[in-house]
């Protein structure tokens, strides 16, 4: 039973592991313009974040201060605080401090999405199973991308750049189709995000910060407009 949960986690996260391999391959290809292949791989293995790493390589390329690096990561990755808060509610009592310290390391957008959509209570074995393949895929993809970066035609590496967005769309669209409140939430978020991209003054806002603002505003508006049912009400 316990081992099955681990295997189940592995199976559920297989597409994420493969997807991460493809996406981090793209990251590796671009990262070696600034840092070595080994440094890029160490970065992927220790960070497990896409947008944060892309921005981080930019900071290193610009030779900015460590404070700029810290602030950049804080702003771009602050969405993980919201995700961890949501995940913390879902993790049961079987998760002690040590288990939470481990899971925190790889609470990425996709692993978070997989954990949250699981209809039964989460076990520690299942969560460990979820982590393995994405971590291996992310690190090995970076290494191979970094090594292949020079030989690969630019049109191929360019095409790999949308893999991450494709995965996000695959997560969001089915939810938006199934539930009206989520459809409204997604449309609202998309409109806000467009404002931060195209409106003259708003587009000067840092893109990581803009994502946080869009998330907080759209989620708050929808939480007021479409509050979820309480568990007791829902079970009646």
């Amino acid at each position: 039973m316990q081992r099955n949960e681990f295997t189940l986690g592995l199976r559920d996260s297989l597409p994420v592991g493969v997807g991460y391999f493809a996406v981090s391959f793209g990251f590796g290809v671009t990262a070696v313009r600034t840092i070595s292949a080994i440094q890029a791989t160490v970065m992927s293995l220790t960070n497990m974040t896409s947008a944060g790493q892309f921005a981080g390589v930019g900071v290193i390329a610009a030779a900015s201060s460590l404070w700029v690096m810290l602030l950049t990561q804080l702003v771009i990755n602050s969405r993980y605080a919201l995700m961890s808060l949501a995940l913390s509610q879902k993790l049961g009592r079987s998760f002690g401090v040590v288990q939470r310290l481990i899971v925190a390391f790889y609470n990425t957008d996709e692993i978070f999405a997989l954990a949250m959509q699981r209809p039964v209570p989460l076990t520690t074995r299942y969560m460990y199973g979820l982590g393995v393949l994405p971590i291996v895929g992310w690190a090995s993809g970076t290494l191979l991308g970094a090594l292949a970066g020079d030989i690969l035609p630019s049109m191929v590496s360019n095409a790999l750049g949308v893999a991450l967005y494709g995965m996000f769309i695959a997560i969001v669209v089915p939810q938006a189709v199934a539930e009206t409140p989520k459809r409204v939430a997604v449309l609202l978020s998309a409109v806000l995000s467009c404002l931060f991209t195209w409106v003259p003054w708003l587009k000067t806002v840092d893109s990581g910060l803009a994502i946080v603002i869009c998330t907080v505003v759209a989620a708050a508006v929808c939480a007021l407009a479409f509050p979820i049912q309480d568990k007791e009400e829902a079970s009646r």
Binding site: V97, I169, V172
Partner: protein
């Protein structure tokens, strides 16, 4: 400065952002607004990251738009994560190849 120092700062910051809420906010939240808010966080956050950024992720807005359209259609067909991602990559490659040759 060694790139490893930058990488250590990145990793430390990112880990703390993920770890603090998981370890220190463990009591079940009763407040209905906060629980509703957290329910909407995943999909609105992914949306804000994807759109309109995907339009500018490639060499031209044309191939970015095609990638978006292909991914949405594939997702509506309930293809899995990897298939949708792969199809959008192929869409970009084919579009840019066509634009270059035609």
């Amino acid at each position: 400065m060694s790139a490893y120092i930058y990488i250590a700062v990145m990793a430390g910051t990112t880990y703390l952002i993920r770890m603090i809420p998981l370890v220190f906010f463990r009591k079940e939240i009763k407040n209905r607004f906060i629980r509703s808010f957290l329910t909407y966080v995943p999909c609105v956050c992914l949306t804000a990251m994807t759109f309109p950024a995907i339009l500018y992720a490639t060499n031209t807005v044309v191939s970015g738009t095609v990638a978006l359209a292909v991914a949405i259609v594939a997702a509506l067909w309930r293809r899995n994560l990897v298939t949708v991602a792969a199809l959008s990559c192929i869409a970009v490659f084919v579009t840019e190849w066509l634009m270059q040759t035609l």
